[in-house]
């Protein structure tokens, strides 16, 4: 319990009559990179805003290093670096002025300031724009200045709302690399709806849909927890034509097979999808089952379920909300 840097308990948030969060629970230990996934409007941003103390929960609470955010707003905020969505910045300030302002508000001791500034300029790559007006910066640089602002006080916790949105592929790669480096010592929550981003950077994935937590697992766990899919093409061995029911029935027999569904009839046989448990390789069992049922196996290919499929299944099954 002590090791939880962020903890969220039964978080509920209403905006007027609409309920944005319907009871969210999770906790994040030190040094973990957590990816928040979910369709737009699922409640990712709202959850982050509650943890950072910008919004108050309707019920439930958020704790940062064991302290309730609502009762200890200043202490908890001091440990958090937060980059809101779209990186809102004071456009009338120069980058250097803005970082000075943040350092003043954060009361960073003068002795550390120079070293922190140097590190931020280097890490975020903003050395060339320090004397430029923020309003004139490109989206990529704004995002970097926002990151520098979030990290300048060397916080233990970083909360980044869509840190790579609007960046070009090179910039995305750089930010991801930065996030992975930061994740070695910091606790990090980042939201995104870019799935490869989660695969590339996160230790753990939390999927929120329609205000509820629908999955909380490692990337690996999410991709395999659903089982593996084996695409099979079968044909009759003898003269007698294939009977669909019999094929399904016979391939279903092995214990390792969860379900069988016919995809369609092809010229040379019947295409069937077999869903198996992830832990076992069901191909051998399917082969045996096919022989026993007097079927010829023309093709067999094992595929792991992609994160994208899992995401779509989890976020679309009850609402029918299409992204």
């Amino acid at each position: 319990m002590d090791s939880a840097m962020i903890e969220v308990r039964e978080l509920v948030k209403d905006y007027g009559r609409t309920r944005a969060l319907r009871g969210i629970d999770f906790s994040v230990p030190r040094g973990q990179i957590v990816g928040f996934l979910g369709p737009n409007g699922a409640g990712k941003t709202t959850t982050m805003k509650i943890i950072t103390g910008y919004l108050e929960a309707t019920s439930g609470q958020a704790l940062v290093r064991g302290l309730p955010v609502e009762e200890h707003p200043l202490e908890t905020r001091a440990h958090i670096g937060y980059l809101p969505e779209n990186a809102p910045l004071y456009e009338d300030m120069m980058v250097q002025e803005f970082l000075d302002f943040v350092a003043d508000i954060r009361q960073i001791p003068a002795a550390q300031r120079r070293q922190r500034f140097r590190l931020m300029t280097e890490v975020c790559g903003i050395g060339d724009v320090l004397s430029k007006n923020i309003g004139e910066l490109s989206k990529g640089f704004r995002q970097r200045v926002g990151l520098a602002h979030a990290m300048i006080h060397d916080p233990e916790i970083l909360i980044l709302d869509e840190p790579t949105s609007g960046l070009d592929p090179n910039q995305i790669a750089e930010i991801r690399k930065l996030i992975r480096e930061l994740g070695r010592e910091k606790t990090l929550i980042l939201s995104t709806h870019i799935l490869p981003e989660v695969q590339a950077t996160c230790d753990r994935v939390i999927i929120i849909s329609d205000g509820k937590l629908v999955a909380d697992d490692t990337v690996q766990g999410l991709m395999t927890g659903d089982g593996a899919r084996i695409q099979v093409l079968v044909a009759p061995r003898g003269e007698s034509p294939l009977e669909m029911e019999k094929v399904v029935e016979s391939l279903q027999k092995p214990d390792s097979v969860r379900s069988v569904s016919v995809v369609g009839e092809k010229e040379d046989g019947l295409a069937v999808d077999v869903l198996s448990d992830a832990a076992v390789d069901a191909r051998r069992d399917i082969f045996e089952a096919a022989i026993a049922a007097d079927l010829a196996l023309l093709e067999m290919q094992r595929q792991s379920v992609s994160l994208e499929e899992t995401f779509r299944r989890l976020t679309m099954e009850d609402g029918g909300e299409h992204v």
Partner: protein
């Protein structure tokens, strides 16, 4: 306190980095200058009477114009989220913005000191009412900036904030102009609520705690409501 000053410093430099402050202060000086010159040169009297009698009304118009962007702009651009998720209290945010707004208006008032000084070089000037007048203007400005900030927390649109603050200020300014039409007892109440009535008391050179109390309560109530509005944005 230091965070309040940090915020105030940022806001002041934001004012003078944009044409806004120059335009508003410039327009204020232009109109107040006309009031001064029209008495001194056209009417030929070495007096600041018309300057002091109409400048409160000018402040009713110009203070909201200075204050309107203070919170609205942060609501519009989303920077309020950036600011209020740093370890800073809502009270410090509002106090810092108040100090910045007041500094801008005070810098405008400071420049009008040229008028009494120029009169003093050519004739006898009774400094008592001048000092009282400026103290009164400063108090008016403080209360009106407070009202302007309060209105600024209500809308992400600066113009809406300006019009709301202007209406509140005008009503407060008009209160003692309508006492003639209402029963005497109500008239007393209206007079006490009037921003101009208390100004005239102070401008006479008589510093009464009742007048000071009026301005300070007006200011504190507006700033308190501004903090409250900021807090409600979190809910």
């Amino acid at each position: 306190m230091s965070k309040t000053l940090t915020i105030a410093r940022r806001e002041i430099s934001a004012y003078f980095n944009s044409p806004m402050a120059y335009i508003v202060v410039g327009a204020f000086l232009l109109i107040s200058g006309y009031l001064y010159f029209s008495t001194v040169f056209l009417a030929g009297t070495a007096s600041l009477r018309s300057f002091f009698s109409l400048t409160p009304l000018l402040l009713v118009i110009f203070a909201p114009a200075v204050a309107m962007r203070l919170v609205s702009e942060e609501l519009r651009s989303g920077t309020l989220e950036l600011l209020t998720t740093m370890p800073v209290r809502d009270e410090e945010v509002i106090a810092g913005k108040f100090l910045a707004g007041l500094s801008v208006v005070a810098s405008g008032l400071l420049m009008t000191l040229a008028y009494p000084l120029s009169i003093a070089t050519v004739g006898d000037l009774d400094w008592g009412p001048v000092i009282g007048g400026y103290l009164g203007l400063l108090l008016c400005a403080a209360a009106l900036i407070g009202i302007g900030i309060m209105a600024s927390t209500w809308s992400r649109n600066q113009i809406t904030a300006f019009i709301l603050a202007l209406m509140i200020g005008l009503v407060l300014w008009l209160f003692d102009k309508v006492t003639f039409f209402v029963p005497a007892s109500l008239g007393r109440v209206l007079e006490y609520l009037s921003i101009d009535f208390h100004f005239r008391n102070i401008a006479r050179g008589v510093i009464d705690t009742r007048d000071l109390l009026y301005y300070f309560s007006l200011l504190l109530i507006s700033l308190f409501l501004a903090v409250l509005a900021l807090r409600r944005r979190h809910a």
